[in-house]
Symmetry: T
Subunit: 168 residues, 12 copies
């Protein structure tokens, strides 16, 4: 369906940029989906009192990350793209796999930091890409970016404590 008489990101002349943007949003979508998987496992596996704080934090984040995935997916739809099916998914978060010992909570914290950093990096690029091109996507991604920066800082705080205790 030709997007007759539409402007901005929806205009004919911006077709290739729109396609590129859809590709980037699709990648963001998969990052969030994999994070759901990783947080699910990491909110079940860890043992220990100290781990409870991490576990409860991840448990709550699952819904938030799922919400981010939905936002990315729905924006793909609005941009006339199609959200990919499960066969297109390929995992990347090696650093968030279960550790050898389930009491090794440092392993989990480092994994979360790695994942958040990757997401922030990728989302920053989408924000730049949208500048002056697609206000709506840009605004949406800035808000998600804020969530991720908050998570990152929280888990960096966790790792600092372990560093202060000489455990890392």
């Amino acid at each position: 369906m030709p997007l007759t008489n539409r402007t901005g990101i929806f205009s004919e002349e911006n077709r290739s940029k729109r396609e590129e943007l859809i590709g980037r949003l699709q990648r963001a979508y998969w990052m969030e989906i994999e994070t759901v998987m990783s947080y699910m496992a990491n909110s079940i596996n860890p043992d220990g009192v100290r781990a409870r704080e991490i576990v409860e934090s991840l448990e709550q984040d699952i819904q938030e990350e799922l919400g981010h995935a939905r936002q990315f997916g729905e924006r793909i739809k609005e941009l006339y793209g199609v959200v990919e099916g499960s066969m297109e998914f390929s995992p990347e978060q090696k650093y968030l796999q279960p550790p050898e010992h389930q009491t090794d909570i440092v392993h989990v914290i480092k994994g979360v930091i790695e994942a958040e950093k990757g997401a922030i990096e990728h989302y920053s690029r989408i924000i730049e890409f949208c500048d002056g091109l697609d206000w709506v996507t840009q605004d949406m991604v800035i808000a998600i970016q804020h969530d991720e920066e908050g998570h990152l800082r929280l888990f960096e705080g966790f790792i600092r404590e372990f560093e202060a205790e000489g455990l890392v």
Copy 2:
């Protein structure tokens, strides 16, 4: 940690059965996780008035299926297993990938039926396996089974209508 003085599925003599059960629950866990992915995409992509009913049904089911995944994961933990990370996931639901045309709702319905049938088949075997061995897992899976049988019947009803209209 040796499970000293435990009985039933937790006893030393049932160790290999326990490991087999963990393997089956892990597979059930991945089936539910993939269903989350598939329902997410299929609750965003389809176009059309008729599709709304399907879309809204899948949207609600995402939370239910995620809840099933959590139940399977937590039971693995209770059985002294470790829930696998995202690198172990490999997709199987070929029949639930996005169709060529987003108005092709029959494609989605058939995919859901296929997925539910697979789950019911697998869960039935877990129920049988647990009989007289692990009452708790059995009871939990029967309740999940009931949910899936209800979903299956609903979507079979959808396909019957299309058959009655000669559209399948």
Copy 3:
């Protein structure tokens, strides 16, 4: 217990009218109870996407109709009558029995229209009967009447669509 010193519908001189009114309310009570049965079956049996809209509508109406039945029953009590037991019930809604094929949603819609028309007809007569005789019953039945007229119009709209598509 003689209703000493009461006026209006409760007065001695209006005793036979009061008994007649109780009879009419009893009939209204049974109509609502049978509707509960019919809507229960017809919110479970139908197959198909299109049927969902009907099914969900009937599902919600069950509580509303049960509430109407209670209102009729309690008014009978207030008028010093006794609500009949299940042995006095005899079904009448032939047009609301399950169709041969569960995808035959037109059959259900026509049945609902028939039932609502019968109720409206009967309630209109109660309203007329109460005029200047029993304000309270009259006011209560007018409100119920409004609900039924709304249902009727909704289902007539459904049948019009099928007529427009030449399916009736």
Copy 4:
């Protein structure tokens, strides 16, 4: 629609058992529906302070019993049966008809006990019938059975009091 490749209660070889089970569930469905009628009348008719406790108890149970009816009906649907319409209903609860005097609360209590005993008897047989054949139906009926055993015991307690006071 042949239930290709299904197992357990859904398998071809268990077809006649499935049909028998549907018949039994249909009977259970009608028992619950008639109970709704009986409890409705018996939560409106009785007079007296003592009756309030009974009346309020029955009032709450109406929703519970209606829920049971829906569960039975939906299970019939899942087993590929069709829930019967109101013309198939024939009342049986003679003991739950309104008593001669509306202050005769013993009559109501005895009626409820009779009804609950009948239901428990019938549901026990369904549970036995499903053993090793249909786990899902069995699990559902056990839960309903528990509700009914609780109601029965409560009302037996009521009758004991009247016996202790020499009123029965």
Copy 5:
């Protein structure tokens, strides 16, 4: 302020009827206020298990009766009258004063019946008075009337039980 260009109850020619109506509503207002007082005392004083049912019923009714008082008061205001102050109140419900023994619940029940009968009698006359003159007041009073008829019937049921037991 002359009610220029108003019709019905608000018209100049109906001025004296309006004033009469205000007087009747004022009386209804005081009846409800006194009922609040009577129900307050009678929901605190009585002793005994049997009394609990009465006490809880009256406790809930206090809010309902206060609401009626407010409705009458606000209608007086809408009809350009002024709600009277406490100095104009003079008690009438002799039959609802505390009995000699706080276990004498029959005394309370009879008092409530007396009060409700008086209210119903008075409200009936207001309804008649408003016919064809003031639809809004009429409709409001009919709804209140319904509440009172329900209360009356409930407490008559209580007294019937005591009669059946030969305690009245």
Copy 6:
């Protein structure tokens, strides 16, 4: 669709009266819609502490008036009419336009009084028109009328204060 076998307002012989009633309800519908517009502007524009009371009152009324509009619209539908589209709307509430100075709250109060008086006048006629012809519409409009009489009296009270202060 001929309204075969219907009685009262729906009968063939009352067709022209029904059409007239639809016309009157349509006018009532537009009055409520325009009131929504007027209250929206007048709950945003006014300046001042004193104005807050008015502004908050109008803000709450917007939802109430929108609800009235919906009731009128749905009754038109039930009477087999069609609710008009925006092109048929023509504004009439000259007295409710923004005043020259946004602190001129007397202007707003007078405008509201004017609007309410017009509505009450029009609704009174509908109530009379429906008498003995259409109980349901009559009952619905009486309830709306009550709301409007309450609003009118409140704003008349406001203007009285300004009169008492010699500001009008």
Copy 7:
């Protein structure tokens, strides 16, 4: 019933003090009940924008004062007294009767101040009376006292404004 073996306010030697306390609580009870009447009328009668603040404040206080009345009444019961019936009520709040002009809000404010002052005076004496005698009553009345002091201060603030404007 002799209060065998009870201590403090419930002891035999404190019988006459207990009776005196009951008398004081009864007076407090009637003060709250009359306040309910006065606030009801004064939350309906006043006209004007400025009056809205008073009216809404009194409207909320009605429930609070009714709650105080109930607390006083229940404490009377706990002290083995009997709450008086409506025939014992005699109004005292002359200063809270409706003013000549319904825009005369100063009249209402002064009346509220008068009523609160009287209550505070009376409650202070009860608190003193209970000291070292009945901790429970004392604690309850202190909390009620706090509410009344807050109301008093609020309405004194209102009158100050009118004084500052030279309107008193």
Copy 8:
């Protein structure tokens, strides 16, 4: 009132731009108000099962669009403008008037698409206009824009289905 010492959009030098912006927001305000009218009529008029999905969607959107109107109106106020009264309204949505046949749902869908496209076009220009001039208005309009793009895409999906079925 001179906006002394204010910067950005509120500065003296940007006065004419501010006035232009107010004009554009006023137009946006009216577009939303007319949409409320159109969605109200189109959520009442249509007949048919298929129409229910549209009707329910529009019904929910009415509150959302009313909220948008309020946001535009309040921003006008913050920019020191005055929201226009109903006499300034002139309808434009010819394409959203009721169709000849109330089962013609394609007519409604096309009308919604037309309306959303117009709004998106207009809002895009406001966003551009505000760039570097008024961050607050820009941010607010981007969020509203997102809502409209979502609605548009949903209804485009509806029309695609009808195209796929050859009904357009």
Copy 9:
């Protein structure tokens, strides 16, 4: 940890009084815990309509008494004591054991009265003990005392009724 620089009950000179107070609070704690046990059993065992009122009252009180126990326990902690474990518990409420016949409700009522009297006696002494020594504990116990006096009076009312009927 020496409570350096603390005053009142926490001062060094009041150490022995603090220890005595902890002992009394510990006893109060066990009284409440035993009451939980007794009310649990007595809210399950009794048979009969009349018993329902008692049963429901005790059922609600379980949470309240558990809350009291927690308050006592937490105050012990705040006073630098340690709450005792289950091995220190020894039952005392002989009068609250299940009666021979479960319809013997008088037995239960008398038991509750006995328990409440004991608690009130003990709490009164704590209140006296705290006077001028520990305001916080005193204030907390007065509030709990009020609850118990209310319960006592309610159950004394129950027994009065049985006395009036000559059943005690």
Copy 10:
């Protein structure tokens, strides 16, 4: 009361088994009650940041365990037994008494593990005992068993952490 015509666990021939089952349920009841006591003390006594996680977990479990106790108690009643009174209670959880130092959280964790293991062991035997004899009790105990297995696993995880840190 002879359980005439009852089947299964309620039959005459199963009388001794029923009595044995009641005995086992009584023991389970006491285990849960003692756990309530132990968790209450252990959710108040412990000191320290790390202890908060344990304390909050136990605090929530108190309600859950109390609920289990009620379920066991009510099943005893349904099986025609009588729940024992507090004099029959004798404590057994030596391992859950307060430790010497309130910062010794390992002591508490080990105590919880011991208690949960004991419960699981006992409940497993009830489940086996009920097999083919009493479906309802069996189903109820399996669900409770699941809760306890989850608690056990959580606290085992806690102890593992301390082992990993060499603190056990």
Copy 11:
């Protein structure tokens, strides 16, 4: 901790800008905290009916402003700064101190206007500073800015009224 591999505001090259931004956010944080203090006092001190509107408005804003403070504080944290402690606070809002007479509400209104203007001025500069440097902070501050512009406009409206009445 070096922010290795971070971009934008978190990059090494933007270190000094980040520090400057933290300083500005710290100032914004203190402005909001002081506003909480000022609004607290000014929502308690003022006397008079007219003051209620101001008082209630400020009361609600306290939570909003506290929320702003938290947002500023958490952004400082995310930017790797440290929120200052109370010793760093120095008050600036001279214009928001309590007036000589508590009925002098104009004093309060002017103080609020002054405070809001200062905040808007400061926040505008942060928004400019962040442009192209830190999208997330910018987006957050724009939203807060919108709140403050709304408050300012409301209080300017209040002052306009007093000007119109010649009281300023």
Copy 12:
């Protein structure tokens, strides 16, 4: 305004005591306000898993302490004082300033203990001061005192753990 005819703390003879009391309440008010500032900073700054428990505890306490401040402020008002503005505030909690390292949680805990101790000391004196002079203030401060004693004990428990681990 002379407090004519008032007694107790409000009497003329107690004027100087009232002024002294206002001064003490003002100091309590500022202590609570500074605590809000300190807890805000200390619920944002700390890093680490262990810190989460502290952070969440302080986060919840902010609202509680703000509520205390309001209670102190409103009591000042009721005593005819004026709550001071922000210029009168001077910080004192040196021990609650951010530590050098944000993982230094012991610093924060000690600061909280210091603050709570100071508050308890000051409030104890107010309670003594009010004895026999102002029951209402006394009762209010005792309740606040209880909150603070609970906080203190919790944080003392935290420090005990660190002592036990040899970290203090």
